[in-house]
Symmetry: C2
Subunit: 457 residues, 2 copies
């Protein structure tokens, strides 16, 4: 069966595909905020209805958090599992959006048409490229070229607490020959990429408590310890002057990249100044002596994602706050152990707290880094399909982000994962004015159609 008519159908059906995507984008499925719980359920139901209408055996599956979507479709070839997530990031600061984040629209941009809205790139627009590829195959041929299971979660942006338990309980149903994930970027706007290594993630929230209540800084200031001052000292101490993370044992399991990979990455001609220039910066801020791609793909980090204490409204309030808080995350590489690191971090930070203060920790998500076995035939087939669609050799690249599920698939289901995505570095995911290029959406769907064809060939 030639893929050509499937590709043609994707092109002629584009407006209808966009209308479907917009329906999904309008649902504010912010998983981290309990206020949007019903919206998350609504997004899952919408996907089940869409997949069922295409002939998938589709259903939502309850979890202690937001539901999973699981859908099966028979086919002649190998069994592929496609994973995506229907939840999205919060939208604050809302005032920095040029429009309602949940009222998507097509806009013109210097680089071509873009779809603007929360979740367009991360991950609703990307997951719909795979669903539209399946729709075109079924519409054109009555079936799919391989057996497909679609597995979508609604907690990816909030640490995926239900994912591993669900995966373990349903291992037989979810295990396939290869996993496919569409949640990454092109290398650049012309070069398609298969991501073969991902950083892991460890999230920690710390609360330093000093006095039993907020105090007047005139009445108590100078005598009473201020927990915001303690917290600032902790956060400031997490990096040394060379940009290295100071948590004891932090670099255990952090490998140097191989000379071969270094040569391939050097060949990509990454322009750190240009990359940073796009967001108003100029100087690489990571460890002294590391290249830009190393800082992004193969070196671990420690970041403050949030910090707050005391009065943060308009004007001034001379309060000495009772508590100070920070959300801190680590990007992990190699074989860094998130559990060991969490313990080490907690011990290290606790030792910095003076006798008059206490500290409490709340663990958020954690996942080790992933490095794929690219000898699996799916990688070469995908590379070939992508190269044909984009007209330029597809690259094997690293990613600074964390897609923990790829590691879980390996650990719990024994599956390798081909991470193939069509996002771009300027998509502003997790930021105001998120977008997804219309061309990414169209050629993404075409790419998956070709990959499914190659897999089934």
């Amino acid at each position: 069966m030639s893929v050509a008519p499937v590709l043609a159908r994707i092109d002629t059906d584009l407006d209808a595909a966009l209308a479907r995507l917009f329906d999904l984008l309008r649902i504010p499925s912010i998983s981290t905020d309990p206020a949007y719980r019903a919206d998350c359920a609504r997004a899952a139901d919408w996907l089940v209805a869409d997949l069922a209408a295409m002939g998938f055996d589709a259903s939502t599956r309850p979890t202690p958090g937001h539901p999973m979507v699981v859908a099966h479709h028979d086919g002649p070839g190998p069994h592929v599992l496609f994973y995506g997530h229907y939840d999205v990031q919060p939208v604050d600061p809302l005032e920095l959006w040029d429009r309602d984040p949940f009222d998507p629209q097509i806009e013109d941009s210097p680089a071509g048409k873009v779809i603007r809205g929360r979740g367009t790139s991360d991950d609703k627009g990307q997951l719909m490229t795979f669903i539209e590829a399946c729709r075109a195959w079924i519409a054109e041929t009555g079936s799919l070229p391989c057996k497909v299971t679609i597995f979508l979660e609604g907690e990816e942006e909030s640490g995926s607490p239900s994912l591993v338990p669900y995966m373990k309980e349903n291992a037989a149903e979810l295990t396939a020959d290869i996993a496919l994930i569409c949640d990454t970027t092109l290398y650049d706007s012309r070069v398609p990429a298969i991501t073969t290594q991902l950083r892991g993630l460890l999230g920690e929230e710390i609360t330093v408590t000093g006095p039993s209540k907020d105090l007047h800084s005139g009445m108590f200031g100078g005598l009473a310890m201020n927990p915001a001052r303690v917290l600032a000292r902790i956060v400031a101490a997490l990096h040394d002057d060379e940009g290295r993370v100071t948590v004891p044992g932090f670099y255990d399991g952090v490998p140097e990249i191989s000379p071969e990979l270094r040569a391939q990455w050097d060949g990509l001609g990454f322009d750190a100044a240009g990359f940073l220039g796009g967001v108003g910066l100029a100087d690489p801020a990571g460890e002294t002596g590391r290249s830009g791609l190393e800082m992004l793909w193969s070196r671990p980090t420690c970041e403050v994602n949030g910090i707050w204490a005391g009065y943060t409204g308009a004007g001034f309030k001379t309060v000495l706050p009772a508590q100070a808080h920070a959300k801190i995350s680590f990007r992990l590489v190699g074989t860094q152990d998130p559990h060991k690191l969490r313990e080490s971090f907690r011990d290290y930070v606790s030792a910095m707290v003076p006798a008059d203060c206490s500290i409490a920790f709340k663990g958020h998500g954690n996942s080790p880094a992933s490095v794929m076995q690219t000898s699996h035939p799916a990688f070469e087939k995908s590379r070939q399909a992508l190269t044909e669609e984009w007209g330029v050799e597809a690259a094997f690249v690293g990613s600074g982000g964390s897609i923990p599920v790829a590691g879980y698939f390996k650990t719990h289901l024994g599956m390798d994962t081909a991470l193939i995505g069509f996002g771009r570095d300027d998509d502003q995911i997790h930021s105001p004015n998120e977008k997804y290029d219309l061309e990414s959406f169209r050629r993404g769907a075409r790419s998956w159609a070709r990959i499914l064809g190659e897999m089934g060939a």
Copy 2:
């Protein structure tokens, strides 16, 4: 004219006085938040109506911010100016209040009955003690024992931006023989106090900007500078390990207290551990080698009153924030110059900002410290009146708080100020569950009645 019937009238009129105070407390006159602008105006109008009904020539006076209240009443003796403020602090965190902050009520407490609500102690309850004293004198004798001007502002909790310009433009109308302020505390629940030295205040808000927008910490983390990390390093660097403030020149103009004052303060038997124990702390956190009262009354401080950056809501968001903010204040003593210190702080902090970040400053209020000339006869008359009312020798004390207006009265109107207040250290001003002891309110009014009588004698 004996003061006895005036005191008796205060006691018999107590319930009506409380009803008046509660009317004023129910107006949420939060000056720092523009959302409460109309409420501030309403509080001013309420006071004018009350004073006019007593026979004062009273009116509100417009300013670029919240209105002033000015009221005059003739009398035979010297001319006293009473100052207070009708604005209150914000109430957040609201969830820590046991009841609506603006629905005051009388509650039982282990130490006796208290009036609970925002502004009960700071400063509506205190300013009404003076007004009730005037009311009793007028009701009982038809007049006041001295000439009284009442001057109330509505911006004390937000840096008093209109105060000095208004004072300069209306110097002739506002200048009296002595200023009286009721915005301080008893030394303890038994010992009345006249505060003779006050710390000054300097407020600064800093914003560190890194990337031009919030970034995904996976995509950019490790390469892009995080302004929250920069801010934490700045805040952490403001104190050394001995608790001293590191801003260059900070200790210029900070005097050692005289041996006489040290002896008097030592005689007060201040219990630092007990004072801190009341708010869940134990260890004095100020400069190594200083006594507790020095830390509170005669040493300058630097405090973080607020800090915020990135995602601070429920759950976790792996954002690398574009900006990080802090509200920082300094308590000043001796002849520390707030203007010089502001410049020194800005230079010092700017030098800590890496090339890829920028920093912006917003100045909030500033005032130098005040030390009163206690040789003015009003101090001895007030001490005598207080000693008679409370049955224990009144003390001359310092205060860690800042009441900038006392310095302005000296600088711009040439008046000394007797600071006499009836608050207590556990009043939780600026905190949830603020209260004012019913006995402070009753004996405060009686104290002012006696002081007015002594002044006019």
